[in-house]
Symmetry: C2
Subunit: 182 residues, 2 copies
DNA sequence: AAGATATGTCAACATGACTGACGTAAATTT
DNA sequence: AAATTTACGTCAGTCATGTTGACATATCTT
């Protein structure tokens, strides 16, 4: 009744419509591709539910998270990290400023800059959401030994593009001696 | 110049605006949370670029992927997997049908069902996109031994909600003896 | 025959992304 | 000192993808 019919596909699996060297299906990492999809879907799903209560979306979460974690982040840095346009960021940032989750401070050296900081209200929101996600991660790591955990960390790092890293990635990869809020 | 000011946050890191037991910052898995964000961002970024050339978006990719991988998937199954509404799926699915990437077949036992299959054109698209993502995964796994790879797989599986698994998750977790296209 | 199910469709709307242009203040370069 | 560049904000318009709720049709189940 809710069964999927897996028998005989009407199209041959080996027929290809594209030119050039197409990778063969047998070499594909379907397993990891799909696990990443589902893992990420449920990982962000934790926060999505909470955010509804605040009238916020994922965009607000991402902004709050990085502002909290990297105090004094500039607007330009945030644009690099989130890879969205000024317009998109502007809308979300304005809401967070208006509702008192984030405050701006004029840069000391460069007065054009607006350095961003989380207010206590903003910190509480970030902590709540990170708590949910940390719970999931901790659960997932429960039966994994330190070597396994190291492999997971190494794998995730290696999945990230390292050409032209932004401010936050530099901190994560320890390129400079950037300090991050613990 | 593009430096981030990490010194003295204007708000105390320990001040909390929320009631109840708030997890302390020191217990948070900021590392994994952020690695997942960046890893997934770049992982889906591979496909996004290619999709532009086809005039498609991520939604089209997700539909194509699961239809290819689980031939004969029903519309209802797809709704479960993608966790979107009928409306949203309908728009995307209609395009893919109209443009010949997917075909429908009426169910054998239940003639109300529309079983979905990828056409050769659709298969080529999925293969192209999966190839890009597989390349990234293979690169990331290059220096990781089999035990590490097992830990990664175990971790990703454990990150996924197991209550009320859909058709595809049942196949992935081998609950039944579902066959999947290799 | 009545009811439940699978799918498709309509209207209306929200969010978060985009482009391109323009303005202002402040820093930097000439 | 003047010209240019940079950092940021904003306006107008568009697009992709998600939402809700209602309703129609064919088909299966009871």
């Amino acid at each position: 009744m809710t069964d999927v019919n897996f028998s005989k596909s009407p199209t041959a699996p080996d027929s290809q419509g594209a030119a050039g060297p197409v990778p063969r299906a047998g070499e594909m990492r379907w397993d990891i591709i799909e696990l990443l999809f589902f893992a990420y879907r449920d990982f962000v799903g934790d926060a999505d539910q909470e955010l509804e209560a605040f009238g916020f979306g994922r965009a607000h979460h991402r902004v709050m998270h990085f502002v909290y974690r990297y105090p004094g982040l500039k607007v330009a840095d945030l644009l690099d990290v989130l890879r969205i346009t000024k317009q998109s960021l502007g809308r979300v940032l304005k809401q967070l400023l208006d509702e008192g989750y984030i405050i701006q401070k004029t840069g000391n050296n460069d007065r054009r800059q607006r350095l961003l900081y989380a207010t206590p209200k903003g910190e509480a929101l970030v902590a709540k959401l990170a708590g949910l996600q940390t719970d999931r991660i901790t659960r997932a790591l429960r039966d994994i030994n330190p070597e396994g955990a190291a492999a997971i960390s190494q794998f995730l790092r290696a999945m990230i593009d390292r050409d032209d890293p932004d401010k936050v990635l530099e901190a994560i990869f320890g390129i400079g001696s950037k300090k991050v809020r613990e």
